[in-house]
Each structure stands twice: as structure tokens, then as C-alpha cells.
């Protein structure tokens, strides 16, 4: 995520000072990416150096607002007009981990898949809970960010299902078909479920 472009986009709505920018950023992204105020000011001074914003005289409270320049407006327009390049995204650690798990002796790949799927599913449940609590209209931008995380997590679970199926089909390892270590075969270890006739 480019903080530079985020701040520029916010400044397009009118001059603001650092704390206001941070609050506005968090209001749109639901504090998904909390910014610290130091990052905000460092970014603002870089933007000023590059001629994309200019600082205005200090207000009575001692805050110094910034406003966007014409060059800044052009930069924002360019940012929105350009797709995010896939090569600029971080490397997929999980895909690399699974690929290495296949070739590393003594690693139970099925267990790696299951551990990840449980964790991702759990995250997906929490995102969904946050979404269920939000308001459909007033929290729209935050909900879209949540939806992005929901769809990404879902894609990961689907991919893990696919990996599991491929493992079963093409690599009949002795470990597949048995529960992962540490997971019981019961979904609720309630004491009343203990006695069966």
C-alpha cells in the first residue's frame, strides 16, 4: 500500500494537517492499516520536497495544514488510472512454503495444508463477524476493504483444498488420510459426548 498516494488522494478533498489525514485514512480503511503519525509527517515532507503538496501557514492551534499542488493532482489521477501491478505485490510466502514442504524430507505436507486452512478459515470467520457488525451504508469504504480480505482468504482456502486434492491424487503419502497432529476427531470435546453405547 502506498501511503504517499493515500495521503495525496485525501488531500484532494481539501487542505488538512497530519492528525486529520491519519484519522481520514483510518476512517476509510477501518484501521486495517493503522498509520503512525511519524509516517504521516515523513511522507508529507517527502511529498513537499517533490512538489506534490505545499505547506500552509500554521493555524492558531499550532498545526500546519498541507494542500495538494497541480502536480499532486496529476499524480493522484495517474494513480487511479493505473492498475496495481501483480509484480509489485509481496511474494506469496505460503505458496513457497508448500512448494518447499513437498521437497523437504520429513515434512507432513497434508498437515501443513490443514494447519494453514484452519488459520485462514478462522481469519475468514473474524472478517465476516466484523462485516456483520458494520453498517451497509455508512461503513461502505471499510466494508469494501473487508470484502477484499474476505475474497482473498476464500481464494486461499480454495487453493488449499485444491492442493490437498492434488496431494491425494498424485502423491499418495502415508500421512494423508490421518488427522493432523493435535487435532482430535471430535468437533466439541464436551464431557457428555464421552459415553457411547
Amino acid at each position: 500500500m502506498s501511503i504517499k498516494h493515500g495521503l495525496l488522494a485525501l488531500l484532494k478533498a481539501g487542505p488538512r494537517y497530519g492528525y486529520q489525514l491519519r484519522a481520514a485514512f483510518e476512517a476509510s480503511t477501518g484501521a486495517t492499516w493503522p498509520l503512525n503519525i511519524g509516517q504521516v509527517y515523513t511522507t508529507l515532507s517527502r511529498l513537499e520536497r517533490d512538489g506534490l503538496v505545499r505547506s500552509l501557514p500554521e493555524e492558531d492551534g499550532g498545526q500546519r495544514p498541507y494542500e495538494i499542488t497541480d502536480a499532486g493532482r496529476a499524480e493522484v489521477a495517474h494513480w487511479f488510472a493505473t492498475p496495481v501491478a501483480r509484480s509489485e505485490r509481496p511474494r506469496d510466502e505460503l505458496a513457497i512454503k508448500l512448494a518447499l514442504a513437498l521437497t523437504t524430507p520429513g515434512v507432513d505436507v497434508a498437515a501443513v495444508v490443514q494447519t494453514q486452512r484452519t488459520a485462514t478459515m478462522r481469519a475468514l470467520q473474524e472478517y465476516t463477524r466484523l462485516k456483520a457488525r458494520s453498517d451497509e451504508r455508512s461503513d461502505l469504504s471499510w466494508r469494501l476493504v473487508l470484502d477484499a480480505m474476505i475474497f482473498q482468504a476464500e481464494a486461499e482456502v480454495r487453493w488449499l483444498d485444491h492442493c490437498e486434492a492434488s496431494l491425494v491424487r498424485y502423491r499418495p503419502a502415508p500421512a494423508s488420510g490421518t488427522p493432523a497432529p493435535g487435532t482430535a476427531a471430535t468437533a466439541d470435546a464436551a464431557p457428555e459426548a464421552a459415553s457411547t453405547s
Binding site: 486495517t32 478462522r122 481469519a123 472478517y127 463477524r129 482456502v157 471430535t186
Partner: protein, 242 residues
């Protein structure tokens, strides 16, 4: 803790025998309490539908026990089982939920009438159930006069009409677009939060995520269970600076 509405104890279900036997479920235990929605995921043939059929008393286990609302289904007569299905258990499927020749309110009132309630009394209860899913104004419409999402709302109302407390849902959002599907899941979630118990079978993780717990079935066994996080705020980590 409240009494479970659904309990599966070491349940096995085998179809056929000998070398051709298919072990649909192999020692599955599951407890669902009021206010709880449990998601069931797994590849085709993993036992999801068998689990749902056993929970609803539509099938009987080869071994192990199924209890609904505290009663074991094993020793029950067919009559008692049918009565339990009418009074306690409701189903929501992907489609073909509603009888096309009956209006929404008649569809919802049907299980009550089959259970011996008078037409007028059943209708009153059905209207209340429809109001709870926001469908009271469309009570007089026939299924083909309702959208897919509205039909599923009626199906949920029927699944939980009167004293019914266990809803078994099999891909209830299958034929719906993402927005409508989400509205149906939100509603199911609300009805469960109001005190029902639910089992939601789906192959979509995004849908299963509405559940409190998600179990993963593979080859008739539970291989994984995902419950809620202790600290959900951990998911919202700051982006590492680059």
C-alpha cells in the same frame, strides 16, 4: 452450558458391505447448542450430506448415536421420528424448497398443519415467522412471484416456524448472487442468534465463515475444526513498511 439441540456421538454410516462397502462417516462426533451455527466443509463424497441426513433423522447410523433436543433417534418409532422432524427440525436446500401451488404463508404453515394445528392458528404462527424474516408483506405470494432470495427467506421462516429449533441448511445460497446469498446467510445467522441451532453445509469458505465453528470432513472423518479467534484484532496488522 445449555443442552445441545443436536448431538452426534461416534457416528458411523456404511453403505453396502464387504469389499464394496462405502464408509460415508467414520466416527464423527459433534455437538450443536442453541445459538450456535456450525459450518461443515469438505470435498464431494466427504460425508457432508450423510451427516445432514443423519442429523435430520432421514437416515440412521450404522453405529453410534444421534440425539436431537435431548432425545436419541435410535429407538424411535417411525411415527415418533416423523413427529420430531415436523416439530423440531427444519431444512433449507439450494432450491426446490417451496411447494409451488401454495403461497408463502401456506408453505410456512404446512408443517404446523401436518402436525395437527388448526388452519387459522397455523396461519397466525406462520405470519409471525414470516415477519421475523421481513417477508410479512409478501405472505400471499406464490413462490414463482418471489425472487430467489425471497424464496430462501421463506424457506428459513418455515425451517424455524413454531417450536422448530434446528435448521439444517444444504448449500442454501447455491443459486443466488453474492449480495443476495450474503443477505440469506445474515438472516440465518440472526435466527440462530435468536436461539436456534444450525448446521450449514457448504463448499464455499466465504459462506462457512458465518458459522461459529467450521468442521472439515474428509473421507467421513473430521480432520479440522476452526473456532473463533481469541484476539480478532491481530488480523488487522499494520502493513510492513517498504
Amino acid at each position: 452450558m445449555s443442552t445441545p439441540i443436536l448431538e452426534l456421538r461416534e457416528v458411523h454410516r456404511t453403505h453396502g458391505s464387504g469389499e464394496t462397502a462405502v464408509h460415508a462417516l467414520q466416527g464423527v462426533s459433534l455437538v450443536v447448542r442453541p445459538g450456535e451455527l456450525v459450518g461443515v466443509m469438505g470435498p464431494s463424497g466427504s460425508g457432508k450430506s450423510t451427516l445432514l441426513n443423519l442429523a435430520g433423522g432421514l437416515d440412521v447410523p450404522t453405529r453410534g448415536e444421534v440425539r436431537v433436543a435431548g432425545e436419541s433417534l435410535s429407538g424411535m418409532s417411525r411415527r415418533a421420528l416423523a413427529a420430531l422432524r415436523r416439530r423440531t427440525v427444519g431444512y433449507v436446500f439450494q432450491d426446490l424448497n417451496l411447494l409451488p401451488s401454495l403461497t408463502a404463508v401456506e408453505n410456512v404453515a404446512l408443517p404446523l398443519e401436518l402436525d395437527g394445528r388448526g388452519v387459522r392458528a397455523a396461519r397466525q404462527v406462520a405470519l409471525r415467522a414470516l415477519a421475523e424474516v421481513g417477508m410479512e408483506k409478501l405472505a400471499g405470494r406464490f413462490p414463482d412471484q418471489l425472487s430467489g432470495g425471497q424464496q430462501q427467506r421463506v424457506a428459513i421462516a418455515r425451517a424455524l416456524v413454531g417450536q422448530r429449533r434446528l435448521v439444517l441448511a444444504d448449500e442454501p445460497t447455491g443459486a443466488l448472487d453474492t449480495q443476495t446469498g450474503e443477505a440469506v446467510l445474515r438472516l440465518l445467522r440472526e435466527r440462530v442468534d435468536a436461539g436456534a441451532a444450525g448446521v450449514l453445509v457448504t463448499h464455499e469458505a466465504r459462506h462457512a465463515a458465518w458459522a461459529d465453528r467450521v468442521i472439515f470432513l474428509r473421507d467421513g472423518r473430521i480432520v479440522d475444526t476452526s473456532g473463533p479467534l481469541a484476539r480478532p484484532e491481530d488480523l488487522l496488522e499494520p502493513e510492513p513498511s517498504r
